[in-house]
């Protein structure tokens, strides 16, 4: 655990010593607040619904921007030669880096909670829904971040890592949407439940309703664990190449 912690602290510092984390946080907060206050002033309803509705779509772009540098940058500068020459296990490095990026995301999400306080002050929201939605945000982000981490470990080009991650996350997000499932007709209709199960946003919306279903949680945990496992494997595989 000491190794994981050391990597975690180093990565977190690299995020906060450079502008990346701040740009990420500021832009994320600006967009979400703008959407929130726009509905607030337009329809005079203090609700977080539109805020949470936009989260999966924002995460699709924002999280790959956080994860893209995790491995690609080390490969590019060659510092992974140094990193892997130290007595660390691959999973310790993978986990330390992942947790650091996750921290950047969680901090950002926590910084949006004043919006919930505004809502609470102006009306009587369903707190269960809000808490559930926040939990959903964390799970959703954790899964997308793991995918981004894996993609970053496959390339030395951050931009490529970003674009490929966005494409994969976008695919996983829309696969369960009516936009896609309506095309599954005739004998293909048997696939609809699978497509819906696979869809990233579907599980998010069911958690957001305030219903914590273990199936949704298991889905997200699997979706975070699998890419991280693949990241460890891809790093091990690059040693055999």
């Amino acid at each position: 655990m000491r190794h994981v912690l050391a990597i975690y602290r180093k990565e977190l510092r690299l995020y906060f010593d450079s502008p990346i984390a701040y740009i990420f946080i500021v832009v994320f907060l600006a967009i979400t607040s703008w959407l929130f206050f726009r509905t607030f002033f337009l329809i005079r309803v203090a609700s977080m619904r539109s805020f949470f509705a936009i989260i999966p779509w924002l995460c699709m772009f924002f999280i790959p921007a956080v994860s893209m540098r995790l491995w690609a940058e080390e490969r590019k500068t060659g510092s992974n030669e140094l990193l892997m020459s130290w007595p660390l296990q691959e999973w310790e490095v993978v986990l330390g880096k992942y947790l650091a990026a996750l921290t950047v995301y969680v901090v950002t999400i926590i910084l949006t909670t004043p919006l919930a306080i505004v809502v609470g002050a102006l009306g009587s929201p369903e707190w269960g829904v809000i808490v559930g939605s926040y939990l959903g945000c964390i799970f959703l982000g954790a899964a997308i971040l793991a995918i981004g981490t894996f993609i970053s470990s496959l390339t030395s080009n951050q931009i490529v890592a970003f674009i490929v991650s966005v494409i994969i996350v976008a695919g996983l997000t829309i696969v369960g949407q009516p936009l896609v499932t309506m095309f599954l007709q005739g004998p293909l209709t048997v696939l609809v439940p699978y497509a819906e199960w696979l869809g990233l946003a579907n599980h998010f919306s069911s958690i957001s309703r305030g219903v914590i279903d273990s199936r949704d949680i298991i889905y997200y945990i699997l979706l975070a664990a699998l890419p991280l496992y693949l990241t460890v494997k891809s790093i091990q595989a690059s040693k055999v190449g």
Partner: protein, 310 residues
């Protein structure tokens, strides 16, 4: 102690390392000498566990890269080629971080970092970002990073490349000092450097070890030959016939004014100049010039590595 046994590594169709075996004992600085692309870096990366070979193995103090890769890395200090570092960190923080991942107890880290700053003369740079350092200081940070856990074995990949002459001398001095106790493998493509820094030299070319020995041995090895060149006037055929067995005519060309320029290779390292002189007189010829040239380390190196250009 570093032991390398029958290492073979292929990258696609490139055979980067081909059945290489050697050992580096404690208290020994071994130079790993070869032209660019010879396979030095690949061999070193295998020892460090950064990549795995197709066959063969490496051990550090008896720990095998296949069975205990993490233990091998604990026993090693490694300076990668071109010294990649974390540019955004300052020197102190970076060394503190390395000390932590190296498993140095938290209480001892400050003292250890302090000590490395001293050993590698980094006092003036301690709080500078690594990205601001000159090549020479970067290299020292790289060395400090490799030494911080006081490992019994060091693998240094071209530690002097890109440095100015004073810096090169400093690094060599430090390496020789450290080499009194540690097993050090030191790669370079510069012959003179291997000659001056190392107790023993391994010459690698096209992935194969083609020569091994102390700088002195290698010079003596000199493909086993000494070259005599002479200009002779008289019965060349008779002279050639009468030459003792250890001589072999390698070149013969007209030298003007009736003289013939001859080059003889002699398999016996002792000086045979007098013998040659007497022989030319005994066949009734004249000698205008006679010189003896021992092959230098350069010649050995060129000879041993020339297969690679083809």
């Amino acid at each position: 102690m570093i032991e390398v046994e029958n290492l073979t590594k292929r990258f696609g169709s490139t055979l980067a390392v081909d059945t290489v075996s050697f050992t580096v004992k404690p208290g020994e600085v071994v130079g790993f000498l070869g032209p660019n692309g010879a396979g030095k870096t690949t061999t070193m990366r295998i020892i460090t566990g950064l990549i795995y070979p197709q066959s063969g193995t490496a051990r550090v103090n008896g720990k095998d890269i296949w069975d205990e890769p993490v233990d091998v890395r604990k026993l090693l200090g490694y300076l990668p080629e071109a010294t990649p570092l974390y540019d955004e960190m300052n020197v102190m923080d970076f060394l503190g971080f390395v000390a932590t991942v190296r498993g140095i107890p938290p209480r001892e880290i400050a003292a250890r970092v302090e000590r490395m700053i001293e050993v590698c003369s980094l006092q003036t740079m301690a709080f500078k970002d690594i990205s601001e350092l000159s090549r020479g200081f970067r290299q020292r940070v790289g060395l400090a990073q490799a030494l911080i856990h006081d490992p019994p074995a060091l693998v240094l990949d071209e530690p002097t490349s890109g440095l100015d002459p004073t810096q090169i001398l400093e690094i060599r001095r430090l390496v020789r000092e450290l080499g009194k106790e540690k097993a050090i493998l030191f790669s370079t493509h510069i012959l003179d450097e291997a000659n001056k820094t190392c107790d023993r030299i391994l010459i690698i070319n096209n992935g194969r070890l083609v020569g091994e020995g102390s700088p002195h041995d290698l010079a003596a090895m000199a493909s086993g030959e000494t070259i005599y060149s002479l200009e002779f006037k008289g019965d060349t055929e008779l002279l050639t016939e009468k030459l003792p067995d250890h001589f072999k005519v390698t070149h013969s060309r007209p030298g003007g004014e009736g003289y013939t320029g001859l080059e003889l290779a002699c398999s016996d390292p002792a000086d045979h100049s007098e013998e040659l002189f007497d022989l030319t007189v005994s066949v009734g010829g004249k000698l205008r010039q006679l010189s003896r040239k021992e092959a230098t380390l350069e010649d050995v190196f060129l000879e041993l590595t020339k297969g690679g250009e083809a």
